[in-house]
Symmetry: C2
Subunit: 227 residues, 2 copies
């Protein structure tokens, strides 16, 4: 319905446990009309940064994300890229990433997101942000975060659509990463009362969505009504 109305559409995700191909297949299976070219995700955003700055990464990421970096030179690394590596967050791999970083004259750490934790069927898991903090502390550096809520990430999505922030609206379930991040870029933002949403979000000390909707379908209704 969004597409049929003539509005431009992009999907912004912090997913770093899989390539965009896998992510898109999953959403297609749920009935979404979506293609890889419509997805803004941290790994390709990081690849652009790596190319622009001639950075060669040591990767500490999920095995399924590695193909996103296929075209990037990884020999003789001069930065570390960390994502939600899940089972790859071993003691040995963390020490190795640390040694690469601490061995640099000026350590460069790029983190695909800054999430604290997330829930899976077998329980809560530490997210990439926790491991980012461990490396930041050990090396006395500050990571560059790629992904929501980084302004640059939203700006990429807007540039890909060719739309100024004032003419764009973000729909998301995460009060800080989706709503707060988009608003800081000058976009408006709706929070859906599904997924990560919690009632206490409505009393958030810093972030106030432009409106609440009960679910994604209602968000579409609200947007199309105002065209």
């Amino acid at each position: 319905r969004i597409k049929a109305s003539g509005l431009k559409l992009r999907f912004c995700t912090n997913e770093t446990q899989a390539t965009r191909e896998k992510f898109v297949k999953k959403l297609q299976g749920m009935g979404f009309d979506i293609s890889v070219a419509e997805v803004t995700a941290p790994a390709p955003a990081a690849c652009r940064i790596l190319k622009e700055r001639s950075l060669r990464p040591h990767l500490l990421v999920h095995n399924d994300l590695v193909p996103e970096f296929a075209e990037i030179d990884k020999a003789n690394p001069n930065c570390v890229v960390i994502g939600d590596a899940a089972e790859n967050f071993t003691y040995a791999n963390l020490n190795e990433a640390f040694r690469v970083l601490i061995g640099m004259e000026k350590p460069v750490l790029i983190s695909l997101g800054r999430g604290r934790y997330y829930k899976e069927t077998d329980g809560l898991k530490l997210d990439v942000g926790a491991y980012m903090k461990a490396l930041e502390y050990a090396c006395d550096v500050q990571a560059e975060v790629v992904g929501k809520p980084a302004e640059k990430f939203f700006e990429s999505a807007l540039a890909e659509m060719g739309v100024p922030p004032q003419q764009a609206i973000m729909i998301g379930d995460d009060i800080v990463n989706d709503v707060g991040g988009a608003q800081r870029c000058g976009m408006r933002a709706l929070q859906v009362r599904t997924g990560k949403y919690r009632p206490c979000d409505e009393n958030h000390p810093h972030v106030k969505p432009d409106a609440y909707v009960d679910n994604l379908a209602e968000a579409v209704d609200v947007i199309l009504q105002q065209l």
Copy 2:
């Protein structure tokens, strides 16, 4: 020579990869006149805190340290104690410690030290401080640090000797954890130019030892000369 002079002596260590028994055997093998009763170490200091506050720990520590907590009730944990767990810092163990913490109404995290990293024969390793930061961030808590440079830790050592800080002197190789920590307690402190010492320590922005000595033997000379 220190003991023969009548001075009181204690050994303050942040060692958390082994019991005091193992630590003492190692030093005895190097020729030190030392017994377990003369050692102030983070694990027994943590045990005192656990008993005082009726805390039952979930332990994320090195296997060799576990015996130090033999007398502590660990059923139905209401806090997490983290030490340099080395190979025990697995993805599964970190997630488990995190779940115990996040499940508490008011998470209590006790960290045996806050070191960033250390060197072993096979290279640099992340120390307990890095994993402490990961859990702090994920749970939005601040850890209580037991061990140098915490004031309470030095105060314990002084109390065990029955000596006020003004009458005590610390000898150490670590400008921040040994020298800075002891001085903040009102003690004087010598830095030895061995071990962790680096020439740049002599330009440290915040900490200035009361004197430098080339090694431990010279520290003993200097102290005994001034009696």
